[in-house]
Structures are given as structure tokens and as C-alpha cells.
Symmetry: C2
């Protein structure tokens, strides 16, 4: 067994490789990368400067090079493909499945795109690629590849094996053989296992399963993920509005979509506005972070202005100020918890939707319990530490009100965002924290003001 996983990217190797590039020591470069998985080579290239990476790539054969290109970050890739002649790009794309080829073509400038498509020799492939380019990236049509093995209902096993042989080069992993009628309408599936175990003359119609889960081209990618997860599918056939088989989506695409969704959500929850990673430039990271910080700062400045209206109260009772962070922080924490629970149940759509009214009452009840406990703890603290008892009561009443309001806001905001097709995880981020800070201050000062002047 030759283990592929043993390739460990090390700083020493990269240093050695950079020297070899400098010295044009092609033998070392080719030899040290021989047999290494394209995905690992792609990580190696990520560590080199653009010229060095291009140089290494030019030494590798087209098949390996195309798999490396596929693995690169889109922005690195477009730099890579700049100034490469269209013929070379076509040679590289020829080794990829149609869905990956289309993703790359779509990143190219429009003019180059046309040249590439005109340059595809295989007519069937060209038609496939043009067909796939019609779809939005984030729907089933945008995820699917055209490569699949389909068999007519009336074929026998030998005819089906001939078709598998014909497609063997194009279809890397077969998963299922899809069964269609004479018009290409999807009828069901059969497996390679059944084909192997059948006799040559067995008809496909006798070994196929008519129950099959399929998705339509326009289905949203998150729905595709949830269908494939629910039914544990390795591949799902994609049909058009008439039920005709037009492509298939494989599980590796789904795994990628899930990882993207998790990352997008983490960024939304943390107030980072673009898709940045730690190794992006300082400027890019700053640009991704600053807008949310400025929104938060705006909230803080608004809060400062608002408290200015109550300056007299603070002069009268300076201890009021002590409890500002307690009020705002608790409101923020409650709001984020409430929204996280709603976001989670929106993400995970099994079971019957409890209905917004029921959801709302339940959230309210949980918050009521929390609010009572927190208010009592705070009151006890104030009584023990001998804050003027009136202030202690004011703080606890305000805290109670803030917890209830923050919980209502935390529950409603993701539902509203979801209604408008905005990712509800946005509501778990700095957005709701800022809103809750202002809400908390408002409630605290208004309650304090009126209770003291009663």
C-alpha cells in the first residue's frame, strides 16, 4: 500500500523547492512531486509566489495540471490562467468533469470564455458545457455535472455494460446507472452490484428500482443538500421540468456546499462581511472587518447621545452608570441565544414547523424563567453589597424587561430575515448585539428615570 496521506507540507520542502525553481533544477521539481496527489501539489503551489507556481505547473503533464487548477482558490486561479493561451486552457479543461470545467470557465473574462467554448473539439461536450452555463451557481443545475451512465429500460445487461465501457473514461465514479425510457425520462436506477450479479441476458427492466429520489434543476443548493443528507445519497439525478434526466449531483459537491454554508454562517455570526481567510492580505481582512465595527460604533455613539438626555439622572445617582454593562451584555447574550435556537431549527427542517405563534410563546416562557432568575440574583447582589435599595430594584426590573425584549427580538429577527430569503444567521451577529445594546439602554434609563421621579 502506498499511502497518499504521508505527504506532509513542510517549510523545509518549500524552501528547497524555491531554490530548485531559482536554479531551474527541473529534475528535482518533477521527481519530488511525482506521485503526489494533485490536491497536495495545489497546497504546495499556494505557498509559492505566482511565477514560481506557474513554473512548477508548466513542468507537470496536462492531466495532473488540470486537477491542480481545479483545486486552486478561485482568485489564485484567475491570476494563473491570465496570459495562458486559450488552446492550453482547453487542453487543461478537457481533463475535468463538465461541472468543474464550467465553474472555471465562468470565472474567465467574457471574451476568453467564448474562445474557450469555440475551441472545444468534442461537440457533445461543448453542448454539455453551454447547457450548464445557463444555470445559477447555487441551484441544482449549477451543481450538477453532465457525466453519468444511463441505460434504456429495454436494454439487457450486455448493452448496459457496453454503455458503461463507452462512458468509462468520462465518468469517474458511476455510483448508479440511471434508467430512462425512449424519451430520456428518468424512470429509476440500478446499481453496478446488481449488474455484476445478473446474467448477460437479464433485462434492465427486471433489475431496476423504480423508486428514486431526484431533484429539479432549479432547486436551491441548500435544499439539495438536505435531500441528499436525509436519504443518505451518494449521487442524485437532476431532472428538468418534464422529468427528463439532465445531469447528476455527487456527494463531494454536497460536502463542499455544507462546508461553505458552515463557514458563511460563522462569518455572519462574527461580523466579518466578506469571505476572508487568515492568509489574505491585511488590507482585505481590514476591509472585511471594519464595516461591522463601524455599525457597532454607530450604535455606541447613538447610545452615548441617548444617555446624554439622561445626564441629570446620572448626576443624581452616579451608581446608575455601574449597571450599564450588565444590562447591555445580558440583553446581547439573551438575544443571541434566542436567535441561535431559531436559526438552528430553520436550518434543520425535519418535522413539522411548530408555527411562529407557538415558537414565540415557548421562547417567551423560557425567557421569563431566565429573566426571573437573573433579576433575583442581581437583586440579592445589590442588597448584600448595600447599593441604595431603590437602585437595586430599578436595576432588577430593567434587567427583567431587557431579557424579555431581547428574547422577543432574537426570536423575531431571524424569522423575518428568513421570510425575506436572507440568511437568518445574520441575526446572530453584531447586528442583533448592537440593536440589543440600544434597546437595553433605552429600557434601563426610561425605567430608572420614571421610577426615581415617581
Amino acid at each position: 500500500m502506498e499511502e497518499l496521506t504521508t505527504f506532509e507540507l513542510s517549510r523545509e520542502y518549500i524552501d528547497r523547492l524555491e531554490e530548485a525553481i531559482e536554479a531551474e533544477d527541473n529534475q528535482f521539481i518533477v521527481k519530488s512531486l511525482d506521485g503526489v496527489d494533485p490536491r497536495d501539489i495545489s497546497s504546495v503551489l499556494d505557498e509559492l509566489d505566482l511565477e514560481g507556481a506557474k513554473y512548477v505547473l508548466s513542468l507537470l503533464n496536462d492531466e495532473i495540471a488540470s486537477n491542480i487548477i481545479k483545486e486552486l482558490d478561485p482568485d489564485v486561479r484567475s491570476k494563473f490562467l491570465k496570459n495562458v493561451e486559450p488552446e492550453k486552457i482547453n487542453r487543461l479543461l478537457d481533463n475535468l468533469e463538465t461541472d468543474d470545467a464550467v465553474d472555471i470557465i465562468n470565472e474567465l473574462p467574457v471574451k476568453l470564455r467564448e474562445e474557450i467554448i469555440a475551441g472545444i473539439d468534442n461537440e457533445e461536450r461543448a453542448a454539455y458545457i453551454v447547457d450548464l452555463m445557463r444555470y445559477e451557481e447555487d441551484c441544482a443545475g449549477g451543481l450538477m455535472a453532465k457525466e453519468l451512465v444511463k441505460a434504456n429500460l429495454n436494454w439487457n445487461v450486455v448493452q448496459c455494460i457496453d454503455e458503461i465501457r463507452r462512458q468509462a473514461e468520462n465518468v469517474q465514479k458511476i455510483y448508479s446507472v440511471y434508467v430512462v425510457d425512449n424519451n430520456g425520462i428518468l424512470l429509476g436506477r440500478t446499481s453496478l452490484k446488481r449488474i455484476i450479479l445478473a446474467t448477460n441476458k437479464t433485462l434492465i427492466k427486471d433489475i431496476y428500482e423504480p423508486e428514486i429520489v431526484s431533484v429539479e434543476t432549479y432547486m436551491d443548493q441548500e435544499e439539495v443538500v438536505s435531500v441528499m443528507r436525509k436519504y443518505d445519497l451518494d449521487a442524485v439525478p437532476v431532472v428538468n421540468g418534464k422529468g427528463k434526466l439532465v445531469g447528476r449531483i455527487t456527494v463531494d459537491d454536497v460536502v463542499d456546499v455544507m462546508a461553505e454554508m458552515a463557514e458563511a454562517e460563522r462569518q455572519l455570526m462574527s461580523g466579518i462581511s466578506e469571505d476572508v481567510e487568515e492568509d489574505d492580505s491585511v488590507w482585505m481582512i481590514t476591509r472585511a472587518r471594519l464595516p461591522w465595527l463601524i455599525i457597532g460604533l454607530g450604535g455606541g455613539l447613538l447610545g452615548a447621545w441617548f444617555m446624554g438626555l439622561f445626564e441629570e439622572d446620572i448626576v443624581l445617582i452616579p451608581a446608575m452608570a455601574f449597571f450599564i454593562p450588565l444590562i447591555t451584555a445580558t440583553g446581547g447574550n439573551v438575544g443571541i441565544q434566542s436567535s441561535a435556537i431559531v436559526v438552528q431549527s430553520l436550518a434543520d427542517k425535519s418535522g413539522i414547523d411548530p408555527g411562529n405563534i407557538q415558537r414565540f410563546y415557548k421562547g417567551l416562557l423560557v425567557s421569563f424563567l431566565n429573566a426571573v432568575v437573573l433579576a433575583i440574583i442581581t437583586l440579592l447582589f445589590n442588597l448584600i453589597l448595600g447599593q441604595p435599595s431603590k437602585l437595586g430594584f430599578v436595576v432588577s426590573i430593567a434587567l427583567f424587561a431587557v431579557v424579555m425584549l431581547a428574547s422577543i427580538m432574537g426570536t423575531i429577527t431571524p424569522l423575518i430575515l428568513d421570510k425575506f430569503k436572507i440568511n437568518p444567521a445574520l441575526a446572530s451577529g453584531p447586528f442583533i448585539t448592537t440593536a440589543n445594546d440600544l434597546l437595553g439602554l433605552g429600557v434601563y434609563f426610561v425605567i430608572a428615570h420614571y421610577l426615581y421621579h415617581m
Copy 2:
């Protein structure tokens, strides 16, 4: 094509089903669930009370019932299996792959567990199950199933097909045929596609690929996920320390692990301490939320005590209080952003680790830029709104310091947690917000105090 996806869970159906259960109208129950996917039936049972669900289950045949049992929530499942005779449990488990069977056995009381294992008729299967029970749930050994197809290097295709036929019933999806030597040591793999396309007399050694990615039994499940994602694997063979093939992990397990990881992270980031869902009881949700709120409250009370030390400053300059939420909120936002970026790069381990020192300097630089911009905006606001100019400077200086410190804390905390093998996403939650609130207050009041008394 019979679409499985058309089964839509509706309140009307559940109501009708509950009536049928009440009336013992078995015909309706069985007929309405005929041909419905076990996963969908499992969602139906989730909506019924325990007695009703048990009644429905008793009407279904063992194979469907076992697949339903597999899909149930673990806590619902253990209620289900309570008081069911061990023989019946064995009949149900017999229809499941070994990994799923072991997960269920491990949830049972120890005494029952022994009875179940003693009751397994098939000796090979019993040995498999006992073997799997040794592994921790969250390592490769705990994820793997024993079902797989392996072929000896020296077999020909006919012998291999015989083996496939022998295993056909046990192995639902074959993916790869693993190639081993006479001692069971993993050497490589071949595919059903290659077997179909080869002639009967072809030897396995002539159509197998010696390059294969495998994982060892003790590998952490998150590493397994990252290996399988990196190499786009549908299944990965698991070997023991000697390289002997002992099981395989399939992609559906990985998808489940990814979903669990995303959910656990969301909960950590939102300050919810247990694995709760919206349809859990009010009491469970409260218990999961309250501890974090109390920690936050503790921070707030500590903050209140701390500010008490500076009461004289507030009496002197009440406007100081206006900027408390601005300072604490900005510190919190910066801290969460910084930690989210570190957490993300810890989660996604491609490329060379930039090293903690380099990471640290880069984070510092980003924060410096952010800090300067935020401090200037705040200063301009204060100058325009005519706050006493000294206070304006104090607030901006404190804001600058808080942004820098919060960023350092946000960067370091997840690295430290990761070092101690604690999920670093914990650092993106209320924990760091609370710490940053206190930090922010400390910096603000100390700076204000000394600048004013200079």
C-alpha cells in the same frame, strides 16, 4: 419514476393518524405508510406520543422498523426500546450495518447489552460487533462499519465476483473493492467499474490501484472528515497499527459528523451549553441557556463593583458614563472577529500553519488599522457634538487601547484552547464577550482616571 420526496409531513395527516391509532384502524395506518421511506416514517413518529409511535411501529415489518429505529433521536430511541424483549431488539438490529447496530447497543443499559450480544446468531457478526464496541465513538474505529468487500491480490475477477455475491446482502453500497494480501494487510483498491470491464480471467493484481488513502483506527473523527474531504472520498478503509484492513468509513457518516460539528460550533458561539433543539422542553432549554447568562451576569456584576471604585470620576464627569457601551461593545465585536478568523484557520488545516508569532503580528496589524479608524471616527463625533474636548480624547485613546487588547485576547484565546484540545469555537462565544467587557471597562476607567488627574 416514483418520487420518494413527495411525502410531505402535514398536521392534517398526523391528526388523521392519531385518530386511526385511537380507533385501532390498522388498515389505514399500514396503507398510508406503505412505500414511505423509513426516514420519513421516523419524522412521523417524532410527532406522535410514545404509545402511539410504538403502536405504529409494531404494525410494520422488522426491516422497515429497524431502519426507523436507526433514524430516531437517541433519547427517543431509548424510550422506545425500553421494555421491548431482547429477542425483538436482536431481530431489529439484524437488519442494520454493524456500525449502526453498535451505536444503538451502546445506548442500552449494560445488562441488556450483554443479552443482546449473546443473542446474535451469526458468529461472524457477533465478533464484528464486539470488536466495534471497543472503540471510542469519536474516532475512526467508532465511525467504521465492518461490512466491506475485500479481494485477495491473487484472485481473478470470477473469484472476486463470487465474493461480491457472498457479501451482496451485507454490504449495501460497495464503493470500492479493497485488495489485501494473504495476511489481510491492505494493499490497494479496485472499482466495480474496472471489474465489469475486465475479462473473467483477469487477475485482481492487474487491475488494482496501489495508491490508497487509509486511516488508522485511533484517528480523530475530525481528521477523518478532513482527509475524506480533501481527497473527495466516498469511503475510506480503516487499518489497524499493523496495516491490516479492519473496516471502512462511508461518506454518509462524514456528512453527519460535519453537520454535528457545525451545530456544536453554533451552540458554543451562542452560549448554549447543551445539545438542545427548539422542540425540547422549556425546562431543558432554560437549563442549557441559564449557565452562560449567569456567567455573563457575573461579569456584569464584577464590572459594577469595579466601576464603584471610580464613582468619584463619574460624579466629576458624568458624560464618561455615556461611552461605556461604546467601549464594551466595540471590544466585544473586535474580540469575536479576531477569534473567528483564528478558529476558521484552525478548522481548515490546508497549507502550512503560519506559526503563532506570525499570526499574532498580522492580527495586531489588522487591529491597529481598525483601531485608528474607529478612534478617529469617535474623536470627530465628539468634537462635532461638542463633548468637552478632553473627554473626547480620553474616549478615543481608551477605544484604541481596547481594540488592540481585545484583538490580542481574541487571537490568543482560541490558540490556547486548541492547545489544550478544547474546541476553539468556545472562544467566539459569550466567554470572550464577558472577558472583553471587563477588559474594556478596566482600560477605559484607568485611562480616564489618570488622564484627568494628570
